[in-house]
């Protein structure tokens, strides 16, 4: 297994190296059964490693600031004098940059940065233009969702795919909020937004990776992280809504976490016992009761479990950070008293510590 160092090493899922995977495949005989061939000598043909995260951060930040400056130049200039012109200019920019990324004879950092910056600027222009032309938040939100969904598929860039997940997810929340009908539970749109975003993000990780990269070019997780960003921003306002807010989301997330636990059990053992399933369901139900109607804690733990299951260390870390941020934000929730909030946190914490004791005892019994 890959070496792991540092604190709380159990929290980070073991991520095998290429060499370890090939050794295991050869030792397990899977290559033989599948008729597969692996030639390590050809691994030297692999392209250079991707840029470290801080270099990607530099590139992404530069693109954002450039997009803002280009957008400002179009806004200040007199080339675009109407909202329709703004919308058309934005859509043309998006279309041209998508075309350039797919048809450019030779890739270069300069072209990648330029097209990304112009595409971002085009999106801003188009979305704001549509919003002003239609004078409707619903139309603007709908256009954003559709545009970002399209770009997530057709624009082959991790930064853009992250933006698509984030902007599309936030627009979905706005759309559902605007479509809310009077008479129904006041906060149903916020709960539904949380569930849809959580489901979409989890799907980005849980679906098996196909041999071909597919529409998303293997960047599903970039979209997933964008959706998690939108989920984080959607969970916070949920705390300030009226009675009943968070109830549906808490139940829905509890069901999802229990399902995930069951799916993991099935992958671990061919015939898991009824006791194991019961333990998963009971544990999740207890936690849901303890945290009801605050879905943030379940969301954080659910994504930490998912991150470990699919061996994504970053997802585990992001989930734990979210738990800390949510707990801090929870302090400012005005719908509950500090005493009630204290009770929810202590109760959920004790449930988790009790579950831990159960997990460890079950392990010892085996």
């Amino acid at each position: 297994m890959t070496r792991q160092r540092g604190p709380l090493v159990g929290l980070l899922p073991p991520v095998p190296t290429v060499g370890e995977v090939l050794v295991r495949l050869a030792a397990s005989g899977e290559l033989g059964e599948a008729g597969g061939i692996a030639d390590e000598r050809l691994l030297h043909r692999l392209p250079a490693p991707t840029m470290p995260w801080f270099v990607r951060l530099l590139a992404g930040f530069g693109a954002w600031v450039a997009a803002l400056l280009i957008t400002l130049s179009l806004a200040l200039g007199e080339l675009i004098t109407t909202e329709k012109g703004q919308t058309i200019t934005g859509l043309v920019l998006v279309a041209v940059t998508v075309g350039l990324r797919h048809t450019a004879p030779r890739r270069s950092e300069f072209l990648d940065q330029l097209t990304l910056a112009l595409c971002l600027a085009g999106q801003l222009l188009a979305i704001f233009g549509v919003g002003q032309v239609a004078d409707s938040t619903i139309v603007a939100a709908l256009v954003t969702v559709v545009l970002e969904a399209l770009l997530a598929v057709v624009y082959p860039d991790q930064v853009q795919r992250f933006v698509s997940g984030l902007a599309g997810g936030l627009a979905l929340g706005v759309l559902l909020d605007e479509l809310e009908q009077p008479g129904l539970l006041e906060a149903w749109s916020a709960d539904l937004t949380v569930l849809l975003l959580a489901g979409a993000a989890a799907t980005a990780w849980w679906l098996p990776e196909p041999p071909e990269a597919g529409w998303l070019g293997g960047d599903r997780r970039a979209v997933g992280y964008g959706l998690i960003g939108a989920l984080t921003l959607s969970l916070m306002p949920l705390l300030g809504l009226g009675e009943g807010a968070g109830a549906v989301a808490t139940v829905g997330l509890a069901v999802a976490v229990a399902w995930l636990g069951g799916a993991v059990l099935l992958r671990l053992r061919r015939r898991p016992g009824a006791g194991s399933f019961a333990g998963v369901v009971m544990g999740t139900a207890l936690l849901a009761v303890a945290t009801f109607p605050v879905p943030g804690i379940l969301a954080a733990l659910g994504f930490a479990l998912l991150g470990f299951a699919v061996r994504d260390r970053l997802l585990v870390v992001v989930s734990l950070l979210f738990l800390a941020v949510f707990t801090s934000w929870f302090y400012y929730d005005l719908e509950l008293t500090l005493l009630a909030k204290s009770g929810i946190l202590v109760a959920s914490g004790l449930v988790l510590l009790g579950l831990r004791a159960g997990v460890l005892r079950r392990g010892d019994d085996r």
Binding site: L31, A34, R45, P211, V359
Partner: protein, 338 residues
Amino acid sequence: MSSIVPRDPRDRAATPRLLREAARCGALDAAALAAALTQIERVPDAAAWRRFLGDLLLLAGAVLVAAGTIFFVAYNWADLHRFGRLGLVAAATAAVALGGWRLGLERTPGQVLLGAGVVGIGGMLAVHGQEYQTGADPWQLFALWAVLAWPWVAAARFALLWLLWIGLVDTTLILAWGELLHPLAPAPDAPLMLLLFAVHGLAAGLWEAGRGRGIGWMGTPWVERLLTAAALGVLWVPALTTVLAPQRATGWEWTGLVALLGAVAFVLWRYRWRAPDLFRLAAAVASLVAVVTAVPVSWLEEMEALGFLLVGLLLVAEVAVAVTWLRRADATMGQGGA
């Protein structure tokens, strides 16, 4: 090795993207690729899950119980007598520090608990100041906190705690500057930025020297990387002020600009040729991009829309050049620095 990503392809993390690339290179045929993708998607084994759940449930449970306790104390705070408040914070601080000592300061959980105790010292000083209205300035509070915390930080030998302690020193200097020296200085911020630059630069140098001498707990290079980035970052203020308005810049601000350019040159030389480190090169390059981009920004007032467009395109070009250079530097640094 300078690169943060392994050179040997067999040592790289087996991601789906990399496995597909390996198939494209011919190292894996279709069946092997499918088998490899299935292999990496297998959930970790039962033992790994047990360790994970043990750590996750402990960490999350402890955090939630602690947070809930804090919320409970906050709920009852107004009704507590001053001795009760002081005693509560002091008892919590002592408890976590003692717990850390019992767990052992050579282990991370012990170090984390002692770190919580360091934070608790600040809480005690804040409550004391609130209850007794001593009239002390905020900078004095942070200075005392840094002094009282220093023995615990030194005992813990924990990198993150040292970063926290340097943060206390920074806060002390910033607040002291605002209280004591700001009215006297002609360019209020520039001398402070230069002082912070010196503090961070010295700290980074000492840490690197300690790591070079083989002091185990200083083994992580990330502390000096962050300190180097912070040292460069604080100089952005006087440097960009000078570039944007050179006629109005004071001697201190020009010094800040010169110091930044000198520091960038030093970092690029040392961490490209002597002690290869891509993160510090990226920090230096980012500083250079900021300064170069600021030059035409000062002309924006006259050029308006066209100016924004040109600056935007310039920024794209700069970042592209910077990223390309960093990639090439990373590739060659791993081959012996040639």
